[in-house]
Amino acid sequence: MSFAKLWSIIHEPLFWAAIASLKIALSALLIGLVLGLAIALARMNPNRHLSRAAVAYIEFLRGIPALILLFLIYFGLAAVGIRFSSLQAAIIGLGLNASAYLAEVYRAGLEAVPKGQTEAARAIGMRRGQVLRWIVLPQALAISLPPIGNVAISLIKDTSVASLIAAPDLMLRANDLSSQTFKPLEIYLVVGAIYFVICFPLSLVVRALEKRGERKT
C-alpha cells in the first residue's frame, strides 16, 4: 500500500480524532483553570488548615502519574459504584492533574504582584475581595499567561494517555488504524506530526508572551 493510499484512508478519521483530543484538552484546561485558581487562593489563605489542605492536594496530584489518576477515576470509582464514561473520566482526571500545576502557576503570579499594589488599593478603601478582583488578579493573570500556555501544551500531549481507558482520542484512533492497516511506522509518524502541528504554534505564542513580559519589567 502506497502512502498516498494509506493517507486517503487515515486522514479523515485522524482529523476528527485530533478534534476530539483537542476537546478533551480544552475541557480539562477549563476545569484546571477554575479549580487551580481556587486551590491557589486556598493555599495562600491565612487559615492554616485551608492552606495545608491545598498543599496536600497539590503535592498528591503532582506526585502521581496522570495515568494512575485516570485509572482511579475510571476503574477505581466504578468499583464503588461511581461510573463515568471514559471520555468524562479522561476530562476529569486530566483536569484535576492540570489544576495542581496551574495552582502553582497562579501562586507564582499572585506572589509576583508587588505588595505596594495591595496597599494602594486598600488605601483607597477597597475591601479584600475588591483588591483581588480589580488589582491583584488582573496583574497576576498577565504574569501567569506564559506558564499557563506551557501547561496547555503538556495537557494536549497528555491527552494521549486517555486512550488507555479507551477514551476516543487521537491516540486511540491511531492504535486502531495501526492494527487495521499494519502500518504502525507511518501512522505514528503522522500522529506525532499532528501533535506537533498543534503544539508548536502554541509554543511560539508562549515564547512571544514571555518576551513581552520581559520587556515590561
Binding site: 496597599e119 483607597i124 478603601g125 479584600r128 480589580w134 488582573p138
Partner: protein, 257 residues
C-alpha cells in the same frame, strides 16, 4: 480647641522584640499641615502607616474624627474591625506612597476613577468628569489615556495624588512622596502639595524636604527611636530647636544639602 481630626494616644508598634514606636501621642486638627521629620528608622513612616491601619499597631489607639480606627468596642471589649468597616474608614483617608504604586494595568484616567467607581459607587460619567478635573489640576490632562509606565516619576506621583483626592478625603497622608524622584522632578510634586495645602487640606507628611516643611507646615514633629523628641511650629523647630538631638539632626541635614 475643637476635637482634633486625628487623635493618637499611646501608640506602640513592635516587630518581634524591636519597638519601632514606643508610645506616641499626637493630635492633628482639621486643616492642619503636619510634617514628620527625623532620621531613617525613627518610626515616622510606621506612624503614618498606622493612621490608616496599613500597619497594625501593637498598642494604643488612633481616633479619626472621634471614631477609633482598626478596633471597635463591643460589650466593653475592643475587637478588631471587620474588613468592610476598615475599608470604609480608609476610603476617607488619602495616601500617597514613596513609590507611587499606581496600578500598571490601568490607564491614568482609570487609576483615578477606580476608587470612586468601585468604592464610592459613583457613576462612570460622573467619576470620569471628576478624574479629568483632578488630572487637569495636577497638570496631566494630556496623559489621561497613557499607562503609568509611560510617565516620569514626578508625573506618576502627581497621578497618585489625584487618585487619592478622587476619594474626597478629609485627611491626606504622604509617605516621603519625593524620596524616589530624580532631583529635577521633586519641584513639580511639591508644587501640587503646596497648592493642596493652600486649599486647606489636612495633611500629614513624612518628608526629608526641610525647606518644604519649613514653608508649608503648621507644625513640625521631630522623631527619633520611635519617640517624638520635639514638636512645634516650623520657625521654632528649624531656627531654635530646644533639644540637642534635634539640633544634631538638623545640622547634619543642612550640611548634606
Amino acid at each position: 480647641m475643637s476635637e482634633p481630626l486625628v487623635r493618637i494616644r499611646g501608640l506602640k508598634k513592635a516587630y518581634g522584640i524591636h519597638l519601632v514606636l514606643q508610645g506616641i501621642d499626637l493630635d492633628v486638627h482639621s486643616g492642619e499641615k503636619l510634617c514628620l521629620i527625623g532620621p531613617s528608622g525613627s518610626g515616622k513612616t510606621t506612624l503614618l502607616r498606622c493612621v490608616n491601619w496599613l500597619e497594625e499597631p501593637t498598642g494604643g489607639e488612633i481616633l479619626i474624627d472621634g471614631a477609633p480606627i482598626g478596633t471597635v468596642a463591643k460589650g466593653g471589649r475592643s475587637h478588631r474591625m471587620s474588613d468592610v468597616e476598615l475599608a470604609r474608614m480608609r476610603a476617607g483617608i488619602g495616601m500617597v506612597f514613596q513609590r507611587f504604586n499606581l496600578f500598571p494595568h490601568l490607564t491614568v484616567l482609570e487609576n483615578v476613577m477606580l476608587g470612586p467607581v468601585r468604592v464610592l459607587g459613583a457613576g462612570r460619567a460622573e467619576a470620569e468628569a471628576t478624574a479629568r478635573g483632578l488630572l487637569a489640576k495636577v497638570g496631566l490632562s494630556e496623559k489621561v489615556a497613557a499607562y503609568p509606565d509611560r510617565l516620569s516619576g514626578g508625573q506618576q506621583q502627581r497621578v497618585a495624588i489625584a487618585r487619592a483626592l478622587a476619594m474626597k478625603p478629609k485627611l491626606m497622608l504622604f509617605d516621603e512622596p519625593t524620596s524616589a524622584l530624580d532631583p529635577e522632578l521633586v519641584g513639580e510634586v511639591l508644587a501640587v502639595m503646596r497648592q493642596l495645602a493652600n486649599e486647606g487640606m489636612t495633611m500629614i507628611i513624612v518628608t526629608h524636604e526641610m525647606r518644604f516643611a519649613e514653608t508649608v507646615a503648621d507644625k513640625v514633629v521631630f522623631m527619633a527611636d520611635g519617640l517624638i523628641v520635639e514638636e512645634g511650629p516650623p520657625a521654632r523647630i528649624f531656627r531654635d530647636p530646644q533639644v540637642e538631638r534635634t539640633r544634631a539632626f538638623l545640622s547634619a541635614v543642612e550640611h548634606r544639602v
